[in-house]
Each structure stands twice: as structure tokens, then as C-alpha cells.
């Protein structure tokens, strides 16, 4: 099981990095989203894996999944949602102003 999760993190990360290195805003944002998934799962996994043991207290149940990483990931998901919305909006604003959604700045050399 562990290797499945670890490799999923690895594959999400690799895909995320590849897309982040693209030249247009849209795929880069998708790449960031994939990286976000990867890191959320990674952070989640820092509490180790537990199947069928949600941290909802029940009488007579002793074993629970680690709730803390779950809370942290929840916070991280929310924050990255806000960030994604913002970067989409700024990217859109840049596109509407200049008619290109390239990430790289062509005018830099001139400045």
C-alpha cells in the first residue's frame, strides 16, 4: 500500500513539475494543481496510512487515523484553492490586457 501512495505522490509531482515548466499560463496552473495534490497527499501521508479508521471518536474504538495531518491538509486545500483562484484571475487579467497567455516575459531583455 505504501508504495502505491508514495508512487502516486511521485507521479503527481513529476507530472506537476513537467506542466509547471510549460510556456502558457493554463498548463502551468494545471501543473501547480497537480503539485498541490501531490503535496497534500504527502502531508496527509505524514500521519501514515490507516484504512477504515476515520478519526471520529466511537465508543470502544481504539485505533484512529492521525487527525492532525488531515486538519493540516484541509487547511492547505482551502488555501491553495484561494491561491488558484487568484492566479487564474491574474493570469486572465494579463491575457485580456496583452492577448497572450505566455508565462515568460518577452519584454524583459529590453528593460
Amino acid at each position: 500500500m505504501e508504495i502505491l501512495v508514495a508512487s502516486a505522490i511521485g507521479i503527481l509531482t513529476a507530472a506537476g513539475i513537467y506542466l509547471v515548466l510549460r510556456l502558457r499560463t493554463f498548463p502551468v496552473i494545471l501543473g501547480i494543481s497537480l503539485l498541490t495534490y501531490a503535496v497534500n497527499v504527502f502531508l496527509f501521508a505524514s500521519g501514515r496510512l490507516a484504512v477504515g479508521a476515520p478519526p471520529i471518536l466511537r465508543d470502544g474504538v481504539e485505533v484512529y487515523a492521525d487527525p492532525l495531518p488531515q486538519a493540516l491538509v484541509l487547511t492547505a486545500i482551502v488555501i491553495s484553492f484561494g491561491m488558484t483562484a487568484v492566479v487564474v484571475m491574474i493570469g486572465l487579467g494579463a491575457f485580456l490586457g496583452s492577448d497572450t497567455d505566455r508565462v515568460d516575459d518577452p519584454a524583459e531583455d529590453a528593460s
Binding site: 477504515g52 476515520p54 471520529i56
Partner: protein, 95 residues
């Protein structure tokens, strides 16, 4: 009773496998397309199947608390299907 429970467990596992297999087939359709409609359809199906998997997990672990998740998946899957479709139809999802 224990026989019945055993059978139930076996059937549960078999159902898991079937639903998982259905997911993979839906995924194939999603990748294959060829029309946008097919892809949205495949996504819709996968959401519903995922819901099935969660229901099965709830049965397997005997924990009722996955209900909220299931309910949410049912609601939101619909919304996202409509959103994708509206995008293809109109470009603007909210207009």
C-alpha cells in the same frame, strides 16, 4: 449466519472489483472520446461509480459516516457535469 456473512464479504469484494473495472472502462472512454459529449459522459459515469465505491467501502468497514461524502459526491458530480456541458454549449458557464 457466518456463511451468509462470508458470502456477503465475497460478493462485496467481487462488486468492488466490478465497480473498479467499470471505472477503468469509463476512463478508457474518456480518453478515447471521440466527442466532447463522450468525455463528459464518461466523467459523469466515473463520479457515479466513485460514489458506488464509497458506499461499498462504508459497507466493508461497517462505518456509516461515509454517507455525507456520498451525498456530496452525488450533488457535486451533477453540478460539474452541467458546468462542463454548459461550457461546451455556451462558452460561459454562468451567464
Amino acid at each position: 449466519m457466518s456463511l451468509a456473512t462470508d458470502i456477503l464479504n465475497w460478493v462485496l469484494i467481487a462488486t468492488f472489483i466490478v465497480v473498479a473495472f467499470s471505472q477503468i472502462m469509463a476512463m478508457l472512454r474518456l480518453v478515447k472520446g471521440p466527442t466532447v459529449g463522450d468525455r463528459i459522459l464518461a466523467l459523469d459515469t466515473m463520479v457515479v461509480n466513485a460514489l458506488g465505491i464509497i458506499v461499498l467501502l462504508g459497507m466493508w468497514y461497517g462505518i456509516g459516516i461515509y454517507f455525507e461524502v456520498t451525498l456530496l459526491v452525488a450533488m457535486l458530480g451533477f453540478v460539474s457535469t452541467v458546468a462542463y456541458a454548459k461550457f461546451v454549449l455556451r462558452g460561459d458557464v454562468i451567464e
